[in-house]
């Protein structure tokens, strides 16, 4: 098991914001940070996968650094840091992998050595205590960075085991891009925080992040509107695949659909 970086501070008892994969979507990340600040967030966290999908990867880093967003590494960040040949997302279908490769190659070509070094220094997981509970922040699951925890495909028994093995009362994760949470038998909770880089396949152009209010261990999922049309134009200027741009404009996923379980897929349009 990974040893998580320990986060400390009395302010952890305040409101906390958790951002899932930004996927190069700097406009949405900016809007999500501003939204969380406006709510009086004591701390901001990002659960990794900074690159992919969106345009101009370099614009993400200053936002995370200047706004002091505590960031852990996703599979994408690890692949870029280690100069691997693909994103390591863990897709199993060739159609999913084809589009994943296009965005990885795009991001990889535009990532500087300094950015790779910054990514390499990110912790893999983080943990803190809050209100007597132990929170574990991971990208996919506590045991594998690229494991997909889908709501309809994860049994209670499995999630209880993951929490127990990780010694966590609350697991916070991302990687799938669709937010959900579940209070488990025995009191543990899993919060998939969604992603701020891409809409949640719900036909809305907003992106979502997870907000943990002061004095609460249940998350609220916050929709964040942003100038998605400006992002779409920027993606077109960068000649990113048209289906990616369509997702930004419509809120429906058009690619990397094969990994979705039937329930999640059926809620979408494609």
């Amino acid at each position: 098991m990974v040893t998580p970086a320990i986060v400390r501070g009395g302010d952890l008892e305040g409101g906390l914001a958790f951002f899932g994969g930004p996927y190069n979507n700097h406009l949405a990340l900016r809007a999500a940070i501003d939204d969380a600040r406006a709510r009086g967030a004591a701390r901001l966290f990002c659960l990794g996968d900074l690159g992919g999908f969106g345009p101009n990867p370099g614009k993400i880093y200053p936002l995370l650094q200047e706004d002091e967003v505590f960031t852990i590494a996703g599979n994408y960040d690890r692949s870029l840091a280690e100069r691997l040949s693909d994103c390591g997302c863990g897709y199993t279908h060739p159609d999913d992998n084809r589009y994943a490769q296009l965005s990885f190659d795009y991001t990889n070509r535009r990532t500087t050595d300094a950015e790779r070094a910054w990514l390499a220094a990110l912790p893999e997981q983080a943990a803190f205590e809050r209100g007597g509970r132990r929170y574990l922040l991971c990208h996919g699951s506590p045991r594998r960075t690229n494991e997909f925890l889908w709501e309809s495909a994860s049994s209670d028994a499995f999630l209880v085991r993951l929490a127990r093995e990780a010694g966590a009362d609350t697991i916070l994760c991302t990687h799938t891009g669709i937010p959900w949470q579940r209070l488990l038998p025995g009191g543990a909770r899993v919060i998939n925080v969604g992603a701020v880089g891409r809409p949640a396949n719900d036909g809305r152009t907003e992106v979502w992040y997870a907000w943990l209010p002061p004095d609460s261990d249940a998350a609220e999922f916050v929709p964040v509107p942003y100038d998605h049309e400006a992002l779409a134009r920027e993606m077109e200027e960068e000649r990113l695949p048209a289906p990616f741009v369509e997702t930004v404009r419509t809120g429906w996923w058009t690619t990397c659909l094969e990994i979705l379980p039937a329930k999640e897929r059926a809620r979408g349009r494609h």
């Binding site: 098991m1 994860s154 049994s155």
Partner: protein
């Protein structure tokens, strides 16, 4: 990041896969009994093959309970043909109380009424119920020589019934063609299924396992198609489903869904006792390693 795990070697140099986690449990719920007699079936299922028998609902329940205690993630039901089992819907009800479930079927026994019953079950469950239908060609001329006369029409009818009931069935095809034709056939499957009214086709292509009846249709494994220490060096054992899943049949717990005719693959009567290393000594192990195959969706 990957949990630290490695492949160890047995005395004779056959690499062994560790039992890392029980994530998935398969049930050979209809044994080796099937209404079809496909020529590539790696477990030689047929209307008369009783080498593995139907599992009772009570027996499945006991394994569901044990699996739940062990923190299982999901279940798969296969055969033979699962819809020959008269308690299948009841068994799925039991399973969906514990976790997500998938059924692997040839689709020929799925009537519109049965599809609606399953769809109601799916709607009531917070977990996914996936229906996976085997079809080995885009035409009767391509499919029927493998799966049997008339099966193309019957399977497509079953697929339509599932789609009309609201399912997004996964169509699986065994790769009876060469690698070069893969992309083209995948596209053709998609267009064909759309044309048949399946709006969002999901297609999974599976490798052939050169055992069972397939050995007679094409060929068996060559002496070079077995795993050695060299194959497993630097290989992540998580990628092999035998590191994190098990198959239950009427005869006990097997290492994987493919090897239920191999005596050494019968590991134990219970799931707990079955969590031990397994020597990857079969040609089929080479296929999983080589193709990255997983029987999962």
């Amino acid at each position: 990041m990957t949990r630290q795990a490695s492949i160890s070697l047995s005395a004779v140099g056959v690499p062994r896969v560790p039992a890392l986690s029980l994530d998935t449990v398969w049930f050979q719920v209809a044994g080796t009994l099937c209404n079809l007699r496909c020529r590539h079936c790696f477990v030689s299922c047929s209307p008369t093959n009783r080498s593995h028998d139907y599992m009772t609902r009570e027996s499945v329940r006991e394994y569901l309970r044990e699996a739940e205690e062990m923190g299982v993630r999901d279940f798969y039901f296969t055969g033979g043909e699962p819809f020959l089992h008269r308690d299948l819907v009841g068994i799925l009800e039991d399973a969906l109380r514990v976790g997500p479930s998938s059924v692997l079927t040839n689709g020929t026994l799925i009537t519109p009424e049965r599809a609606r019953t399953l769809a109601a079950l799916e709607r009531e469950s917070r977990y996914a119920l996936e229906l996976r239908v085997s079809l080995d060609g885009l035409t009767a001329a391509m499919n029927d020589p493998i799966r049997g006369e008339g099966t193309f029409e019957e399977t497509v009818r079953g697929l339509r019934a599932l789609a009309e009931a609201g399912f997004l069935p996964i169509v699986t095809a065994a790769q009876t063609w060469n690698d070069a034709a893969d992309a083209r056939l995948r596209d053709e499957f998609h267009s064909f299924l759309r044309h048949e009214g399946i709006a969002r086709p999901r297609v999974k292509i599976l490798p052939l396992f050169r055992i069972g009846r397939e050995e007679g249709r094409s060929r068996g494994y060559a002496p070079t198609e077995f795993l050695t220490e060299e194959h497993m060096r630097g290989y992540d054992p998580w990628l092999l489903q035998c590191s994190n899943s098990r198959m239950v049949t009427s005869r006990g717990v097997y290492v994987c869904p493919i090897l239920i005719d191999a005596p050494d693959a019968l590991l134990a009567p219970t799931l707990r006792e079955s969590m031990k290393p397994f020597p990857l000594g079969h040609g089929a192990c080479h296929t999983c390693w080589e193709t990255g195959a997983s029987c999962r969706n």
